[in-house]
Structure formats: structure tokens, C-alpha cells
């Protein structure tokens, strides 16, 4: 059993954290980066007390946890269905209770960042004797782990049964270009991942949009946009894996680096169209038309810079989180210093140079 757990952690839990590094950095920053260090304990105490005493606040937190768990479940289901994960079928040879326990552990481990924060919730709850709310938190989280484990275990053992739920597929009219193939992958193969990412980023943009007033600073939108971009970073990892697995043969075709770069540029700009459309109503309220046009350029620049990092030969996959963190921090500071134009232009130039340098010296590895 120890060997099975070891393999499950390596094959499912670690890739989950690597793929969601952007989202986790984003949440971590929201939770701990926006408050002065001297106020941080008081801030979180108030936050937890608010949650334990207000039914509405608690409900919002539970919905956020549910979304996180659904995102993690979605990742695990997609990963398990990959050809390279066929070996997981052997788990079906174990008694159902044992394979269920394996998946329960995996579900719990992907929930760890939330669970660590929950420990603080229990501490504050015990100190203030909010046992009823604590019980709700415990039961809800336990139910989430059970739900994920049940879904994973059920699907593993019933792969011969046709799926009953299928998300509608968006058929793109033009899949005969590089851009069409990449877009086709995102909108056909990763539609549920896209929906979840959009749920995060559109909610964020909507909240900011509703609070914007005429004369507000563009930096508010710039920083919100940066956070919205972070919720899409895991798609870049998926896109890169797709490239490595099914498009390596295109490297022998006469496609220039400029064309490849342009493809990435339009792909990532296109990815943020829903957020852009949502923001069009805010032109004149803290956002000029020119600034609105700048946002897709900034999106492409930021996301291609992450993509270009993945072309680094023999890269250490564990360093991706560090890279993402520093890239985010630099962009955050520059946006805050009203230099979003500069950061967008610089990132475009840097990412182009990196792609030009690395594209043909990169070779996919098994990580």
C-alpha cells in the first residue's frame, strides 16, 4: 500500500501543485500579501471570526472551497484519463474500499493548502466556542474529500460505461492553422478547465467593474487583470504538454519563429476576450479606450513569457513556481508604478528572444 501511495502522490498530487502554482500564488498573495505584516494576525482573526459568526460569509467560503475542490477533481479526472496513466487501472484490482481510500488520500492532499488554513479556523473557533460553525466546516470539507474520492473511484471501476454527462463542444470552423489547432485544443479538449478558469477571473473582473467610478486609477484594473491572468497559467502547462505530445512533428515543418510567436500572441489575447468584453462597459470609469486595448497585449506578453520559460532545455520543473512568483511580483510592482506599457513591451521582446533561442534546442522530457 505504501508503494501505491508513493506512486499516487508522484503521479497525481505533485503534478496538481505544479500545474496550479499560479492559482496558489494568487490565493496566497490575496490572503497574506495585501495586509501589512504587523496587522496580519489581527486581520485573519477578524476574517475567521466573521466567517464563523455570519451565515452568509460562511456560505461564500464554502462555495469557494467547493470550486477549489471541483477544480482539483477536474484536474485529477483529466490526468487519470491520459494514456500514460493507464497503469492506474491496476487499482481496480484492489478491493473497492482500498482504492477508495487511495483516492480519498489524494483528494485530501490536493486540499492541503485549504486544510492548513482550516487549522487556524479550528483554533479561533475553539477559543471563541463556535462549535456549531466548526462542525459545519469539518463536515463540509470531509464531504468534499468523500465526493472526490467517490467520483474518482467510481469512474476507475466503471470505465466500460459511457459517460452520462458531456459538456457541449465548441467546433471551430478553422483548425487548419497553428492558431486553429491550439485554440481547438483549448476550447475542445480543455473546455471544463477553461470554464473553471473563467469562473474565477470573470467573477474577479466583475467585482472590480462594479466598484469602479469615474476618475478611478487604471492601476486597480491593471492589478486585477494580472490576478485574472494568474488563474489561466495552468492552461499554459496543459498547452505545452499538448504541444510536446502531439505537435512535435511540426518542428520539422518550415514554420518561422515569428509565425510561432504570433500564434501564441493571438491565442493568449483571444483567451482573455470574455474579460475584455466585460470591461468594455467601464470605458470612461477608470479605464480609457486605449488602456482597454492595452489589456490583451499585456495578457499575451505575460502568458507568452510563462510559455517561453517552459521551452528551457533540461529545466527543473520545481523551479516553475519560483519563476512564476518572481514574474508576478515584478509585473505587480511595475503595474503599480504605472508602467504597464513598459512591462507589456519588455515581456513581448524578452519572450520572443527566448522562444527564438530555445524553440529548437528544447526537447520534451517525461516530467
Amino acid at each position: 500500500m505504501k508503494a501505491i501511495f508513493h506512486l499516487m502522490i508522484k503521479a497525481l498530487v505533485m503534478p496538481f501543485y505544479k500545474n496550479h502554482a499560479g492559482l496558489l500564488v494568487f490565493v496566497f498573495f490575496i490572503m497574506f500579501g495585501v495586509v501589512e505584516s504587523t496587522q496580519i494576525i489581527f486581520y485573519h482573526q477578524s476574517l475567521i471570526l466573521g466567517m464563523l459568526t455570519s451565515g452568509i460569509f460562511l456560505l461564500i467560503v464554502l462555495v469557494l472551497w467547493l470550486l477549489y475542490q471541483l477544480k482539483s477533481l477536474h484536474f485529477l479526472l483529466k490526468t487519470c484519463s491520459e494514456d500514460s496513466y493507464l497503469f492506474l487501472h491496476h487499482l481496480a484490482e484492489l478491493p473497492s474500499i482500498r482504492s477508495f481510500f487511495c483516492f480519498f488520500t489524494v483528494s485530501f492532499l490536493t486540499f492541503l493548502p485549504v486544510f492548513f488554513y482550516t487549522i487556524a479556523i479550528y483554533v479561533v473557533g475553539i477559543q471563541n466556542e463556535f462549535f456549531e460553525s466548526m462542525a459545519i466546516v469539518f463536515v463540509f470539507q470531509f464531504a468534499l474529500w468523500l465526493m472526490s474520492a467517490w467520483v474518482l473511484n467510481h469512474l476507475l471501476r466503471n470505465q466500460h460505461i459511457k459517460a452520462r454527462i458531456n459538456l457541449p463542444s465548441l467546433t471551430l470552423p478553422y483548425q487548419r492553422t497553428q492558431l486553429g489547432i491550439y485554440a481547438g485544443y483549448l476550447f475542445k479538449e480543455e473546455k471544463s478547465a477553461i470554464i473553471l478558469s473563467k469562473l474565477f477571473s470573470l467573477t474577479l473582473i466583475y467585482i472590480i467593474k462594479e466598484t469602479l467610478e469615474s476618475g478611478d486609477d487604471f492601476r486597480i484594473i491593471g492589478i486585477t487583470w494580472l490576478f485574472a491572468l494568474l488563474s489561466h497559467t495552468f492552461l499554459i502547462n496543459k498547452l505545452k504538454s499538448f504541444e510536446d505530445q502531439t505537435l512535435s512533428w511540426t518542428r520539422s515543418l518550415p514554420i518561422s519563429n515569428i509565425k510561432t510567436f504570433t500564434t501564441y500572441f493571438f491565442l493568449y489575447a483571444m483567451l482573455m476576450i470574455p474579460e475584455l468584453v466585460l470591461l468594455t462597459g467601464s470605458v470612461g470609469q477608470g479605464l480609457s479606450f486605449l488602456q482597454l486595448l492595452l489589456l490583451p497585449v499585456f495578457s499575451s506578453a505575460f502568458l507568452i513569457t510563462i510559455h517561453s520559460y517552459l521551452f528551457k532545455p533540461n529545466r527543473d520543473p520545481d523551479k516553475f513556481v519560483t519563476y512564476l512568483f518572481w514574474l508576478f511580483m515584478i509585473c505587480f510592482m511595475l503595474v503599480l508604478s504605472k508602467m504597464i506599457w513598459l512591462v507589456a513591451a519588455s515581456l513581448l521582446v524578452i519572450s520572443f528572444l527566448l522562444i527564438r533561442k530555445r524553440f529548437y534546442v528544447y526537447e520534451p522530457t517525461d516530467d
Binding site: E189, W249, R251, P254
Partner: protein
Amino acid sequence: MLQLTHIKKAYGSRIILHVPQLTIPDGAYWIKGNNGSGKTTLLKIVAGINPFEGTIILNNTDLTKSPMAYRQQVSFAEAEPVFPDFVTGWDLIRFVQHTRNEKEESIQSLVDYFGVRSFLDYTVGTYSSGMNKKLSLLLAFIGNTKLILLDEPLITLEDVFLSLLFSLIKERQARGTSFLVSTHQPFREDQYIPDGKIVVKNQTTQFVGL
């Protein structure tokens, strides 16, 4: 003419392929070697897919110095081709046609020659391994490339198709295209006789006659 000089491919300290010097004249050559000897690596390096150390020159075009011009002259069909599941065969053909600037007439005649028209409207995810293989070979024949690299083209295909494939190789060879064909099966004399043999053994190559 294809010239390989000081070609080295290694993963860390493990050398996968080392070719100090190899000159391959125009023609069709059989790449022969045991499993793991480095045949696919050699082909992928020559195709410009895998990074390497050294110099590769095809008809005076250096792969490292003029990557676009070089790639316009070379095409490659993988041993076990993998394509995105959601695209159709036509999507891939149009994609390669566009990048290689091939005429519509040639495409239509290749599609008919390979006998694949009936399934090109379906998505690749529904193809059998044989259909995938035919599609991959068809893609390699698109355009007027000077060198076509075929990695294990004889596996998963029916005998009737193999005769068609060899006829096409002969026809393209007559028009000035060179071939490097890697396969474990010896060529049948009634089907095809290559111009020579390149043996890949102990991570290096040796150019020999048939």
C-alpha cells in the same frame, strides 16, 4: 547530398548517438540497426526535430544556420505518429499544404493515391493505427522536399499499400528526391531495392553498400 559532421546526441553522460563524419549521396538508403541503436534519433536529428551538437548540411544548406531553408527541403514521417485527436485528416493536410506551399492538384492526387479520402473528414481520434500511419506518410509526401525521412514505414500497413508506397518512392526518387528509410524488415527484391545501407550500431553509423 547530406553531410553530417561531429554529430553528437547525449542525455547527460549517456551518449545516444555519435557520428564523427557521414556523407550520404543523393538516393534512397536503408537505415538498419537493432532496437535502441539510435535509428529514430538519427532521423529526428536530420529532420530538425531533436536538438544535437554538430553540423548537418543538406545540399549546401546548414540546418543550424538556415533552419527555415533547411526545413523546406526535408520532411519526416514518424514510426508511431501522434496527432491531436480533435482535428480531422483534412485539417492536418491543409495545415501542411499551407506551410509547404503545395498545389491543390498534387494534394488531391496524393489523397487518391493513398486511398484515404473516405476517412479524412473524421477526427484523427477515431483513426486506427494503420490510418494514422497512412496519414503521416501522406503528410511527408506533401511538397517538393529534397529529402524524405521515413521511420519504420512498413509497420501496421497492409501488403497492397506497401507496393503502392514503394512505387511512390521510386517515382519521387526519379524526380530527384532522396530517402532515408528506417526499418527492421529487409526489403523484398520484388518490391524495392534501395541504393545503399546505413548501419546504426553501438550509437554510431556506418555507410555500406547493399
